[in-house]
Amino acid sequence: MPSQSVEVSATAGISAVPDAIHSRLLDELWRESCAATYGLEHVQFREILERVGTAQNFGLAPEATASRQQQVNYFRGLRFADLVLARACANGHQGAWEHFLSVYRQPLTRAAIAIAGSETLGRELADQLYAELYGLTTRDGVRRSPLDSYRGKGSLMGWLRTTLAQRHVDHHRRTRRELPLDNPADGNEPQAAAPEPQKPASELLHLSKAIEEALHQLAAEERFLLAAYYFDGRTLLEIAPLLRVHEATVSRKLHRVTGELKKRIVRNLQAQGLSKAAAQEALGADPRDLDLNLKKILQFSLPDAFTEKAVPIRGMQ
């Protein structure tokens, strides 16, 4: 019975996709994605579905168990045409590659030029990615293509752009050893001679602790907003689409977050025994006197949340 198989699958965790889903969805999705055009058989298509679904736990939290409807919803949200094309290319299907090149070659080159900021570097970047996508890199004697890692959550073009950006940023950091954000934790940047603190060390300690607690209380979106705006110097217009709001809303959010942060710091200082006036006065301290690693404070990712290993940054490890 289909319901039984779903139940069995649910109890078995995320290791398998229920057969009931496959029997109905597989044919439908197989037809919709034109997988046959690129020589993908039902079996291969089913394997792709299983790998994609289980790798992301159907878009749910790692500890959650996907219901049948959640699995259906998850598969329905995938871009199967792009996914099938990517897998067919990774498998070396000639027709898929011809289609891929005809559709994505020019946009990808333009994107690479835009990312690199130079036509020469951009074309070089695009060519390198093409070589990787084509599977010129081998591991254990097997051709590996990054297209295998595409899971169809976003568009294939967007995935290509993001991959290009990753390659560019990693290359830039490897070769230039320059970071857009100051990273005091790495200890490589020359530290300017610190002036004598104008406030007592105890007061600065209280302030640092209050700031750290206040930042911890912020939501992930608020921390991202502060980092993008104040650390990276991004504009409201750049931040807005990532937060799915208008730039004016970003401005209001920013104003609200900074105001709320200030209030929380004062409250935290008061909780530490300072009067309100003393807490207000403590806010006027020179930030350079504070021993705070704001970047680390702003980071609250769960361990093992992401599987991709970053390219090691030479000289920074």
Partner: protein, 374 residues
Amino acid sequence: MNTTSQLDLHPDADSLNAFAEQALAVPEREQILAHLAGCSRCRQVIFLAQQAAAEAPATQPTKQPATRFWSWRLAWVPATALAAALALVVTLHPWRTPQMPELAKAVPLNESAAPTPAPKEQAVAGAAHKPVQALAAKSLAENDEFAARRRTPEELVQQSAPSAAPPAEPGASASSAGKGQAFLPSSIESAPQQETTAQFQPEPVVAAWQQERQQATGAYSASADASQVSHKSMRAEAYTSHASRQAATAGPRMVQQSQSIPASSFEIITQQQLAESVASRKANLPRLPSGLAAVSWATVRHLTLEIDLAGTLFLSDDSGEHWEPVARQWTGHAVEVRAKTGLSGNTAPAGVFELKNDAGSTWASADGKTWSAQ
């Protein structure tokens, strides 16, 4: 909440892209946001990708209006030519009024010889021209030599003889040809001004053609030296003649004149012959006994042959003073008569005239009276 540093673990491209495209579920989105808050590398990646995505569609809409803008700008060129031609026609209207009905039928014959007309111009041409237009188009399309006559004056100049290529002024011809359209309105309005941009000395046949064209349209200025008319002005003439034909208000000779430009592999008509022909025509309007407009004509020495719209061939041995019809010895509808002469124009070899019907078949005649199939 675990505050372990995640600087060595990053979301993959798929997750970052899905985040940027708002394709993530809330839990995943919160995870990515939390990572982005502390990872400058991933923030940089996502902003770079977003910037690249924004630039791609941003370039297209900005280009499309530009293309539209320029296409509309270019559309003014034939429109301006049409307006200029209309102005000329209004001026010449009383003089040419008796031939107007015939002209309206003759005009579409050479419609395809000019650049693509604007829809407005086509509307002006009128639906009454369609039968003749269809007939002429059919006959012209079936014959490559006729097709050569549909080319622009510039192409005809280049094809008529190897020696007709623009020499002398280094780098002048190409630039003038390339900028011809841009200067088109001014070149139409004032032919003498073209002397300042004249880039090469045209062949006599070109000069004669120019002279004939300008006389026919009434736009010729006495001060204009036809031998110095530039490549550019020829294109302007093409537009002008086209616009005039579309307006169906210029003289019937316009159709014939463009047809009388020789193809390189076929013949070369000397300047003297053309000048004589033009002079005789202007002095003898109207000419054909049928009262119909001539669609094609040819002259060798004192012999002149003309075909009217009905396909009747007329012969004149006194430069158009008197005409006599030639008995039909060909099949179909005669659509063109041409003259074949030697390079000097002094000899008249056998088969000096050539006649084509609407099926593309050819007949030759030495005296214009007796025709034999070829």
